[in-house]
């Protein structure tokens, strides 16, 4: 093929070469401009761009601290009741999911979730984050990651586990998804359990994942929360829950609460309510009321279990003596209303202080109140009784037990409101027109029988800090001289007498143990005023011990429907079972003298 002559004409070639040089000259000029520009951007403006980079790239993170565990004693053995376990949340980024059905089927085979639901989630538009599963085990996590699907990831998070199942669930509370304690101990001691979160300032990728290679990462280590040892005795707690459950079933009640407390320290040995819930599945609970520990959060009008405290106050004030007798007219007219007794017990006649408790005489405790006023219910009587209720037995205020949502209960003011205050005060002597929780009743009774010291009821025995340092909780005295020691000594036999005169099956061996108590059949206030005449709460306040009182037991049964007086028919058998169990399991030290 004849190509045109391509040999250069020298002048064409020379012109070409010259123009190549011109072209190259321009190129050099541009490269130099680039060099100057680079100097400006990289050297002069370096700090500006470095800061701009950091403001995009540097992110601050909270490193969650390990939440403290909770253990309890079973005899001498320390048993964990709340531990942590890493569980995983599975999420997906729909943008990366090419075959939603395939992915959904594989995931479903591992997590057990509904495959078509998952597929729908994975088809979601306009979002890069859908949650496909929660609380997956480490094993499931491993299998999910092994699928190696792009757009599928898991995120670990500490969750509480409960090796003892639902034991003391309402006392413990739970930890919500954002890591905060709710209800019970978890709420009350949230900050102590939670510890101090650490901080990570790190250069991250655009999605916020810290880059390991970055040299600007700074870290403040998280400080783990304290591990707590509670005063709860697992054996007693377990028995109490069983007894309460059976008690509610037997009496066809709505529910029941009970507190077992050591009056010598204020330590709570067991505390339970029925119905309860499984804390491992707290998110499946539909009725939030189940979360509450009614023993501290549900004050009610307590009924006749108040009578031993009224009597203790009158004895302590010196207006009556344990052996005092008086004429009981079977009714008192106060502010135009008649205070009477239960018909079969309450005829007119000469009564003793022991009769007041044994026969549960409303007129008897009203008489005691009158003695505080020098013979009638007046300002002086009300002031003295109010002082005992509020400043000695500490009603109307929270005890400060380590529980969320503790209620204060209610004590009417002693000042004359011009609306039958004397009748109201007469009512408070037998536990009406005032409210208290089981924990308040137990703590007040403990002070009345332990020689007069009101110990703060408490659940924490010791706290073990992250560094291993152990802080033993010493009992805290909230009120001293609640009653004189000799009044305690007088009250114990009066209450033993009540137990002896009532029908327990089997009875108690009072020669080796002291077992005392008092029933209460409490009227329930109607919302509009007045009381229901067909609904009652059954209550019992008692104790078990040997040389000294070792357990104070408060039992509240919510609206039993098995007939009879609620206190005697519903609460008393539960107390009896608890007291027998404590003795039978050798948890009570018998008398030595």
């Amino acid at each position: 093929m004849a190509l045109p002559n391509t040999n250069s004409d020298p002048n064409t070639a020379a012109l070409g070469a010259q123009r190549v040089r011109i072209w190259y000259g321009f190129l050099l000029l541009i490269v130099m401009i680039f060099g100057v520009r680079l100097f400006y951007v990289q050297i002069i403006r370096h700090n500006h761009y470095k800061n701009a980079a950091l403001s995009d790239q540097l992110k601050q993170y909270e490193i969650p601290a390990n939440r403290g565990t909770i253990s309890a004693r079973d005899g001498n053995q320390l048993i964990p009741v709340v531990l942590n376990q890493k569980l995983y949340t599975l999420y997906g980024d729909p943008v990366y999911i090419k075959n939603p059905d395939t992915v959904a089927n594989k995931v479903s085979a591992i997590t057990g979730a509904n495959a078509s639901k998952l597929a729908n989630l994975l088809r979601t538009k306009d979002t890069r984050y859908v949650v496909l599963g929660k609380r997956l085990t480490p094993e499931q996590n491993k299998r999910l990651l092994a699928l190696k699907y792009p757009g599928i990831g898991t995120q670990g998070q500490d969750f509480r586990t409960y090796p003892q199942g639902d034991l003391a669930a309402q006392v413990l509370g739970f930890v919500d998804d954002s890591g905060n304690g709710q209800y019970g101990l978890e709420q009350a001691l949230n900050s102590q359990l939670k510890g101090t979160p650490g901080q990570l300032r790190a250069i991250t990728d655009i999605s916020g994942v810290p880059l390991a290679a970055s040299r600007d990462n700074t870290e403040v280590a998280a400080k783990s929360g304290d591990n707590l040892i509670v005063t709860i005795d697992l054996a007693i707690q377990q028995q109490l829950q069983t007894i309460l459950q059976k008690g509610v079933k037997d009496t066809k009640a709505s529910g029941a609460s009970a507190v077992i407390m050591d009056p010598r320290t204020g330590a709570i040995k067991a505390m339970a309510n029925f119905p309860s819930y499984d804390p491992a599945k707290y998110n499946e609970v539909e009725n939030a009321k189940l979360f509450a520990n009614a023993s501290v959060s549900e004050p009610i009008e307590v009924g006749s279990i108040m009578k031993p405290l009224t009597t203790a106050a009158a004895l302590d004030k010196g207006v009556i003596a344990p052996g005092t007798t008086y004429y009981d007219p079977a009714s008192w007219l106060v502010n135009g209303f008649r205070i009477t007794n239960i018909e079969e017990d309450g005829g007119a006649g000469t009564r003793s202080v022991a009769d007041i408790l044994n026969l549960s005489l409303n007129t008897g405790v009203t008489w005691e109140l009158m003695q505080m006023g020098g013979g009638s219910i007046n300002d002086k009587a009300r002031t003295i009784w109010h002082d005992y209720m509020v400043n000695h037995f500490l009603f109307g205020k929270a005890t400060g037990v380590e529980q969320g949502y503790e209620a204060t209960g209610y004590i009417p003011s002693a000042s004359d409101n011009g609306a039958g205050i004397n009748l109201t005060y007469a009512n408070t002597t037998f536990g009406q027109a005032m409210t208290a929780t089981p924990i308040q009743m137990a703590a007040a009774m403990a002070a009345a029988v332990n020689g007069g010291t009101y110990y703060q009821p408490h659940l924490i025995d010791a706290a073990i800090a992250a560094d291993g340092g152990t802080t033993k909780k010493t009992p805290k005295v909230l009120a001293a001289n609640v009653v004189a020691p000799k009044i305690s000594q007088a009250l114990i036999p009066l209450m033993q007498n009540v137990v002896q005169k009532h029908n327990f099956n089997p009875g108690f061996d009072q020669s080796n143990y002291v077992v005392g108590g008092k029933t209460g059949t409490a009227q329930i206030a109607k919302p509009g005023g007045g009381y229901y005449d067909d609904k009652f709460n059954g209550t019992y306040l008692g104790f078990v011990g040997g040389d000294d009182v070792q357990y104070v037991i408060a039992v509240f049964v919510d609206k039993p429907t098995n007939g009879g007086y609620a206190g005697t028919a519903a609460a008393q058998p539960i107390f009896g079972k608890i007291a027998h169990t404590l003795i039978d399991e050798s948890l009570v030290t018998p008398k030595t003298k």
Binding site: M1, L3, P4, N5, T6, N7, S8, D9, P10, N11, T12, A13, A14, L15, G16, A17, R19, V20, R21, I22, W23, Y24, L27, L28, I30, V31, I33, F34, G35, R37, L38, F39, V41, Q42, I43, R45, H46, H48, Y49, K50, A52, A53, D56, Q57, Y96, P150, G151, I203, T204, D205, I206, S207, L211, A213, S214, R215
Partner: protein
Amino acid sequence: MRPSTPRRRPVIGQRGSGRQDTAGVLALGRKHRPDYWLVILCAALLSIGLIVVYAISPALAQASHVSTSHFVNKQLLAISLSIVAFIATSQIPLSIWRRLAKPLLIIAAIATVLALLLPVNPAYPAHRWVRLGSFSFQSVEIVKFAALLALAGFFTDRIAHGWLDSYEKTLKPLLIAVLVAGVVIAGPQKLHAQSDLGSMAVLIAIVGAMCFVAGLPLKRLALVGAVLIIGATLVILPSQYRRERLASFVHPESNCQDAGYQACQALIAVGSGGMAGLGLGRSVQAYGYLPEAANDSIFAIYAEKFGFIGCLVLLGLFTAFFSRLKTIAERAPDNFSRLVVCGVLAWLSVQTIINIGAMIGLLPLKGITLPLISYGGTSVVFVAAAVGLVFQVSKYTTFAAPIHVMTEKKGGHSHENHHDGRRLRGAYHPDPSGRASS
């Protein structure tokens, strides 16, 4: 590479040795040692690109859910292919390549039509890619390569026939060709065109450089330039996307969150590099902040890693590389080979300038690769092919650049001016006295 052994010596000065006769086109060129610096600089630039891709591949792999070695392996494959392309273009004589220009243009046209018709990847909605199974390439790279050869042949013809000044014979067909290419390559996406203004600019640079070097009168060049500026304005203004890009170029900091995002992140990467850079493994902008970190934005990542010093080294390497191309173009044995080398110089240098200029905020973003550095097979293979052509020319360069000769009109040998003493460093130079006698 063949060692310089005595066996080669006898070839020197022996006219009519078979090779140059069959080569035909390079009639005057005696074959001598090629310019190995061309290969060395190419290899250096390719290595830098590979190192940067390797260093950021964890970030890339994380973003696209592939293995860490995916990108390096693909780039190594591209480099292997590019070596094949280089050998082909440097060994197959230029005369054959000249004859292949037309078939190559047809292939380029077919590839472009395929790119326009085949379905697009939703992540990259422009019709720039030909996808055949797992194999894919950018059609415009073939267009550039074919246009390079076709234009060089075209201008050589015009020079030979003395038609360079003719409007009918030279300027008109040229403008028509540029217009057709402009509509297809730079046309808006909604008309299913490629919307690739960067590549169009490179094509125009190739055309312009050849016009200029071929010796088109400056008045004509001014006319062509005016037409191109008007054309560019007409292309840019109707496109919302381009107006935004232009606006974000003028006021980068105020558009950081939307249209100017990539420009801002590129500047942040470059600026945060400082004097010495963050270090090879310490780029942060590659972790999702700067789009196209391995491709169009690779210079910014390089600048972040290696700082001002590293940038000067890179600019130095590019300048050295371009200066080799310049020298080879100056001393090309004939018009065709000079125009080919000029075209390659225009192609690679303009692409480099457009790419780096965008990264340092001097030019608007265009979405084209940095030659030899950017990740991406098509670009590397065709750049290597182009460099292969230059490498072939470097075997036949004259010993000095031609200067104006007043006494001789035609047929003169450009290398008669060997006494100006300038030598193509590194290349083998035959003995001037031996040459003079031929």
